[in-house]
């Protein structure tokens, strides 16, 4: 009986000693996306227009959702890579107006490892965007913001949301 009790006690001790807290991984926000996340065929799903002057002056009529206007959801943007470098892009506007002014050319970002700005370039014409939250890219969505200014004063912001096809 003593042997059995001793054996059980030893086994219990061994089991207790063998238990280790499971290491829990730190929460990692989706805070980075390299240029490969932008490659592909993107369809415009939402576009809004914000009057920055109204926002500054606390006027009514600050933002207008243009998604259902002018066939904007027809717009398809294709961003190609050459290896790991941004290369050609094309825009198929369908029945939508040519809001980005250009149909194709080359695209660039400010940092291939953590893009913050994205440019569509055709000769001397450049359309500049600020990249939205990287978390959207995880869900195959892309947000681009375009600001129009008068001198140094921001007047209009367009926000485009794309879905990867």
């Amino acid at each position: 009986m003593k042997k059995i009790t001793f054996t059980i006690a030893i086994a219990g001790l061994l089991l207790f000693a063998a238990c280790k807290p499971e290491s829990i991984k730190e929460y990692e926000a989706f805070s980075s996306a390299d240029v490969t996340s932008f490659q592909g065929l993107w369809q415009l799903t939402r576009v809004t227009q914000t009057d920055e002057d109204s926002k500054r002056k606390l006027y009514p009529y600050k933002t207008l959702d243009l998604t259902s206007s002018l066939n904007f959801t027809d717009i398809k943007l294709t961003l190609n890579l050459n290896g790991l470098i941004p290369a050609a892009f094309t825009v198929n506007y369908g029945a939508a107006p040519q809001i980005f002014k250009i149909l194709g050319g080359t695209w660039k970002v400010d940092d291939n490892n953590k893009p913050g700005k994205l440019w569509l370039i055709n000769g001397t014409d450049t359309t500049k965007f600020t990249v939205g939250a990287y978390s959207k890219l995880q869900n195959n969505k892309m947000s681009l913001k375009q600001v129009k200014s008068l001198g140094a004063t921001q007047m209009i912001t367009y926000e485009y949301e794309f879905s990867k096809n």
Partner: protein, 259 residues
């Protein structure tokens, strides 16, 4: 009543501004409050200052109204202040930046309009007066015609609104609007042909039309457009209850060079 008077003033100011622009003055932005920085560009060709290499600003607030003040940069008529000197912007062209409240040392509530002229430092030559240019109020005031956004360029999506409840003429109030004529201008010269478009009802007697100017007018990329006009069209009932054509006054909207 105040709204009606303000709307009339706005319409009047738009007409005045347009006339001033065609006489060699461009003001940017196209509308501004007393707290906004304004850039004036003046072409002095055909004035007493034509051919001058230096030009000085002589500016004053509320011309023709009570509570006017001289610009703090003016100096004396025979000896303009150096801070009033304009920057050359090409042959016979000069530019100057200022903010109303700072320039006149007055509050936004005191500032209704301003006027100015260009002169030589010693006052021996000058342009005519350019006036009046209207300051927008700091608070939002609804108007019968507006665009969203307020500041637009030829490459922006523009939504124009007609609010019949704020109309100052009976025809626009009574009309059942259905369409609008849109025309675009470079100064006083019309660009392209007038376009007729169908309006969308926003409810509560508000009507709208959304468009992208280069698509509607097939504009060349380098075309200059600095003004558009809207005339709303529809029908009203005559004494026999029959529909007869009717149209609103022409509403003007300045365009800015947004980049």
């Amino acid at each position: 009543m105040k709204k009606i008077i303000f709307s009339i003033l706005c319409l009047f100011s738009l007409v005045i501004i347009t006339k001033a622009q065609t006489s060699g003055v461009v003001i940017s932005p196209s509308s501004f409050t007393a707290e906004d920085e304004v850039t004036i560009t003046i072409d002095v060709t055909g004035t007493g200052m034509a051919g001058a290499t230096d030009a000085y600003l002589w500016i004053f607030s509320n011309p023709g109204l009570s509570g006017g003040a001289d610009g703090v940069t003016n100096g004396n008529w025979t000896n303009s202040s150096d801070t009033a000197k304009l920057t050359p912007a090409g042959p016979n062209k000069f530019t100057y930046k200022f903010t109303g409240t700072i320039m006149f040392g007055q509050t936004p509530a005191q500032l209704k309009t301003f006027g100015f002229l260009l002169k030589k430092k010693d006052g021996s030559a000058q342009t005519p007066d350019y006036k009046p240019y209207f300051f927008d109020p700091l608070i939002y005031v609804s108007t019968v015609f507006r665009t969203f956004p307020k500041f637009i360029s030829k490459n922006d999506v523009i939504t124009a609104y007609l609010d019949q409840t704020l109309a100052v003429d009976v025809t626009t109030q009574r009309m059942e609007p259905s369409s609008a004529e849109i025309a675009i201008f470079n100064g006083g010269t019309q660009v392209g042909t007038t376009q007729m478009v169908n309006l969308k009802s926003e409810g509560n007697k508000v009507w709208s039309y959304t468009f992208f100017l280069p698509s509607l007018f097939s504009l060349a990329a380098n075309a200059t457009v600095n003004k558009l006009t809207f005339k709303f069209k529809g029908t009203v009932k005559d004494v026999n209850g029959n529909n007869t054509p009717a149209e609103s006054p022409v509403f003007e909207k300045g365009l800015d060079d947004l980049k």
